[in-house]
Assembly symmetry: C2
Homo-oligomer: 147 residues x 2
């Protein structure tokens, strides 16, 4: 039997979170933290609502997952996020020692790879899962904002 719990399976859930952000007028990025195929937190960007540049989806996901686990380190966790993390979020993920990061669309302008940030050397990174859809949602958001 095929494993239904693929990276695409979870990225679809993160994408749903990004859609919720979109509807709220937030830059549409969604994130999940998964442990043993169970979603322990689902979040989306809330920088506008909270008037706080630190309220990226990943930051909230890290804080929330640590609360759930009862420990600071997320070594057994996978973080799914629809957009490549920025250097702030990469830094937070670095400190969390998260086991795996799966992102959707690459961020050519503010992604951690172009900004020069680093994930933890033990973190497995997979990029480009549902990259087209995740990226299109962000593009559509900014297209509507420019109107």
């Amino acid at each position: 039997m095929e494993n239904i719990f693929s990276d695409e399976y979870f990225m679809k859930k993160a994408y749903q979170e990004a859609q919720i952000a979109f509807e709220k007028g937030e830059v549409p990025v969604g994130a999940l933290v998964v442990v043993d195929n169970k979603i322990i937190t689902r979040t989306h960007n809330l920088t506008e609502l909270l008037t706080d540049v630190t309220a990226h989806a990943e930051m909230q996901a890290i804080t929330s997952a640590a609360n759930f686990i009862g420990g600071k380190y997320l070594t057994g966790c996978t973080l799914y996020v629809t957009l490549e993390p920025c250097q702030m979020c990469a830094g937070a993920l670095y400190w969390s020692q998260v086991g795996k990061v799966v992102y959707g669309a690459a961020d050519e302008h503010r992604g951690y790879r172009v900004m020069g940030g680093k994930l933890h050397p033990k973190t497995i990174v997979v990029g480009g899962v549902m990259g087209q859809e995740c990226g299109d949602l962000v593009k559509e958001f900014f297209r509507q904002r420019r109107k």
Copy 2:
């Protein structure tokens, strides 16, 4: 008359925050945000208390200052922090477009400069203010922890 509101003046206050962190068993880093020579927030590292790798002094300072100001951007603010920001905090400061960052001790291992992070191009950066004292406090903390 000499201006009493020097960078050293405010760094001493940030150092007091770091001392409070030390007494709590937190890695001793303190931070302030100052606008027009007024301290609008003072914070210290709370990663242990909150079980949250994102609870660095700077992150809390940014969130708190934005709440105080009622806006996300800290262009008119100076952030004082006793230790060079890590890449996470540098990333958050980048997004905040903070006007000026003054730090105490350089962090040769996890500072944003060695990790590859970036502050905003418009942010003025001053390092090494009370660098010796600020660095000694961190060293003493880890010396005691190793015992």
